[in-house]
């Protein structure tokens, strides 16, 4: 059994997340990457508005709390003033793909050297389970009580697919954390994003398909099954783009 | 002593540039100066005007509604502003471009065929400077060293080769009798 300690980049604060929620795993993966790269002292994280709003208490690096949807703009401001630091945002689907779509798309197309951790759980968690931009067709939420009707509510947004079309994006990868093999892949993707930052290679987004047992009304195990059976077919896992934007450092 | 210049014409005629030149002449002559453009969607081709105040005292309103000197380069601006010139004021009119004459007896009107003069002298596009030269002559701000210093300041380094032509245009205006 390997030594399984709390990463240094996580504070000694109890996470407030619901049982079975995958936020905790993703937090840990980000923290492990920061530890492994030994960059905690040079990293600034930006939290969103959403369930992970208080992530500033959980990460041991310097943290900023952004207004709803604006994390990529906040990260841009930090990074432009401090080009040699590592800057990541941690955002949910409502934050990133609804109210903050413009900030996401433009930070991406500018090729900002930041890493975006995008938690897609197909719902607004913190406010109690309303329809998100990523809510699946037919999915029942508080504001789609008869199921998302694409004739009325339109279709889900596929961010990795969209962003992979932009020249400023170095890495767009969709992962999940429902089993050890996928957790390993997710961590590798996050690490690659941070490494691209180190080389000033452009914008990286790692979309993590995540569970929300509370708002889905499922047990944690059922939630993982739903993710496998319903979400992955709609949001296929994989690398949508992996093409460093800039060929030489700082170019 | 306060001179309030109103310059008006089409965008692209160099109205703002001529205004800037007059302001710099004022500045280098040791006066208080202000320069205010009309601004907005009227870039090239639209109507354009510019208020320049040159004064011995600090300047209050930079916006000139009743100029002591009007410099005008198209008919619509002539029609609009000629009546606003202060009594005993002056108007400098590009008579190549402006149709008609003023019947005001309380102001001095100078009809300068500035555009024709510019074209004849290989100074295309410098009718504004010819008119400015005439204006400077008539108000008596004619210290050549000051004017040349102002012109040098107004012409960006990239267009330094235009200095000589601009000075020539200025001189043409100053020497124009009519």
């Amino acid at each position: 059994m390997p030594d399984f300690k709390r990463p240094h980049a996580l504070t000694d604060v109890y996470l407030h997340y619901c049982p079975g929620c995958t936020h905790g795993i993703v937090h840990r993966l980000v923290a492990e990457v920061i530890d492994e790269m030994n960059i905690e002292g040079d990293t600034i994280g930006v939290c969103p508005v959403g369930c992970s709003v208080m992530a500033y208490d959980y990460f041991n690096c310097d943290m900023m709390e952004a207004s709803h949807g604006r994390a990529p703009a906040v990260a841009t401001g930090i990074k432009r003033a401090n080009p040699d630091k590592f800057v990541f945002t941690y955002q949910g689907d409502g934050d990133l793909a609804a109210i903050g779509t413009a900030e996401t798309v433009h930070a991406a197309t500018r090729g900002e050297n930041i890493t975006v951790i995008f938690i897609n759980n197909t719902t607004y968690g913190m406010t109690g389970g309303q329809m998100a931009p990523t809510t699946l067709p037919g999915q029942v939420t508080q504001t789609t009580p008869y199921g998302r009707n694409t004739d009325i509510e339109g279709f889900p947004v596929k961010m990795c697919e969209m962003l992979s079309q932009l020249d400023g994006v170095a890495l767009a990868e969709r992962v999940t954390v429902i089993d050890p093999a996928n957790i390993r892949k997710a961590k590798a993707a996050i690490k690659k994003g941070f490494e691209y930052q180190a080389k000033k290679q452009g914008f990286s987004i790692i979309e993590v398909l995540s569970t929300c047992p509370t708002n889905w009304g499922l047990t944690p195990v059922q939630a993982i099954e739903r993710l496998k059976n319903d979400m992955i077919p709609y949001y296929p896992l994989g690398v949508y783009k992996d093409a460093p934007v800039r060929n030489k450092e700082g170019a | 002593m306060t001179n309030e210049f109103l310059l008006a014409g089409f965008g692209g005629q160099g109205i703002l540039f001529a205004g800037k030149l007059l302001a710099y002449v004022g500045l280098y002559a040791g006066k208080e100066v202000s320069w205010l453009p009309s601004y907005g969607p009227e870039m090239r081709g639209g109507t354009c005007n510019c208020s320049v105040t040159v004064s011995d005292a600090p300047i209050g309103s930079p916006l000139i509604l009743e100029p002591t000197q009007l410099l005008v380069m198209n008919t619509p601006s002539f029609d609009k502003f000629i009546g606003a010139v202060k009594p005993d004021g002056m108007a400098f009119i590009d008579s190549t471009l402006v149709e008609g004459q003023s019947d005001r007896k309380d102001i001095k009107c100078f009809y300068v065929p500035a555009t024709a003069m510019a074209n004849e002298n290989g100074l295309k596009g410098m009718a504004n400077i010819i008119l400015a030269g005439k204006l400077l002559k008539e108000i008596g701000l004619t210290d050549e060293a000051v004017i040349e210093k102002a012109m040098k300041k107004c012409i960006p380094p990239k267009k330094a080769d235009k200095l000589e032509a601009n000075m020539k245009a200025l001189k043409l205006g100053m020497d124009f009798n009519g």
Binding site: E40, D42, N60, M64, R80, A81, N82, A102, E103 | -
Partner: protein
């Protein structure tokens, strides 16, 4: 001091920002402030600074939030409708106690309004820029040289009190050229060295810094706000500035700020020539409002006239400041119409100012 040259107010302000060590500018085009962005896009790369045209006003103010949170002097500029968009971000910046400078070159409103000069953002800037209990410092220049001087002061005050500072100008000041001079000092970009609170990487040398405005416990939020208001009390004590001209023996004191103050001054100069005892008082700081200075200026006056390029907004603060101890009349033009000194003089006469 170097030789004076003619600069537009917007350009003078931009140059002064650089000289104040403003390392980053984030903006979005809108008339009549665009020269600020255009000027800085040229100058910033030459002096090691950052110019970034954002995708929106909203993004720009949030870039300012991020940059300011990392302890670096930064600025955004806009005009009235754009400031409305920024207001959410300004609230967050105030709530996180971050210093930054925001420029509002006012135009007519509401809605798209027009692009001509206006002062109809007085309420927006001094009272209502965003949600929550907070104040921001507001400076109102009235000449091109002051556009430059105010931005320097705004950066200093913002840093001193850890809060946003606004330079409130209008299209007239932004677009006009007047002589302006800068000293010959070398441009030095700001860093975070005097900002121990900055989130700029803890270098494993301190506890992590958190930039935040979220307080889920009501008493904790109340305490934070009350501490902030103690700071505001200091500002209200230390920082008000107002300029009085001919007020000592004036029967009628005209109160005006920004470009309107110079129009009022012209009217008052003319009034004095005609033997009318008029004076003019100009608030230079709109927050903190120069209450004591105003009261001193109107002490011997019979009446007060407030002149604004709006339907009357600062007039409320004037009445409050003097506790309605004198009759306060108002004259304003709005929608982009600039009041003529002659109109102001006529109003002074109508109020009984006569020789």
């Amino acid at each position: 001091m170097a030789e004076k040259s003619l600069m537009k107010g917007n350009e003078a302000l931009a140059e002064a920002a650089l000289r104040a060590g403003c390392k980053c500018f984030f903006g979005y085009p809108i008339t009549p402030q665009t020269e600020i962005a255009a000027y800085l896009s040229k100058r910033m790369p030459k002096v090691g600074g950052v110019f970034l045209q954002a995708e929106s006003e909203v993004a720009a103010i949030n870039m300012v939030y991020g940059c300011a949170g990392s302890g670096i002097r930064c600025m955004t500029s806009s005009s009235s409708p754009g400031i409305s968009l920024k207001s959410e971000g300004i609230s967050y910046i105030a709530g996180a106690d971050l210093p930054c400078v925001i420029i509002d070159v006012m135009r007519g409103g509401p809605g798209l309004g027009g692009i001509q000069p206006s002062q109809a953002d007085y309420y927006q800037i001094t009272k209502g820029v965003g949600h929550g209990d907070y104040n921001i410092i507001v400076l109102a220049p009235s000449t091109v040289q002051e556009m430059a001087d105010c931005v320097t002061k705004a950066f200093d005050l913002a840093d001193k009190y850890r809060m946003p500072a606004v330079v409130l100008a209008d299209g007239l000041l932004g677009q006009m050229m007047e002589p302006v001079a800068f000293d010959d000092a070398e441009i030095v970009m700001s860093d975070a060295s005097n900002k121990p609170w900055a989130a700029n990487g803890h270098k494993n040398a301190r506890k992590h810094n958190i930039i935040n405005s979220l307080y889920l416990q009501a008493p904790e939020l109340e305490r934070t706000i009350k501490e902030r208001y103690e700071r505001y009390a200091e500002i209200e004590k230390n920082e008000p500035v107002g300029v009085a001209d001919y007020c000592d023996d004036a029967d009628i004191v005209v109160v005006a700020y920004g470009s309107t103050a110079r129009l009022a001054k012209s009217a008052v100069d003319e009034a004095r020539k005609q033997g009318i005892k008029a004076g003019v008082f100009r608030p230079v700081t709109l927050y903190p409002f120069p209450k004591n200075e105003l009261n001193a200026a109107v002490k011997n006056a019979k009446k007060v006239l407030v002149v604004e390029m709006s339907m009357g907004q600062m007039v409320d603060d004037v009445k409050l400041a003097i506790n309605c101890s004198k009759p306060v009349d108002f004259f304003g033009r709005t929608g982009g119409v600039i009041p003529a000194p002659a109109e102001i003089l006529a109003k002074i006469k109508e109020m009984g100012g006569n020789n």
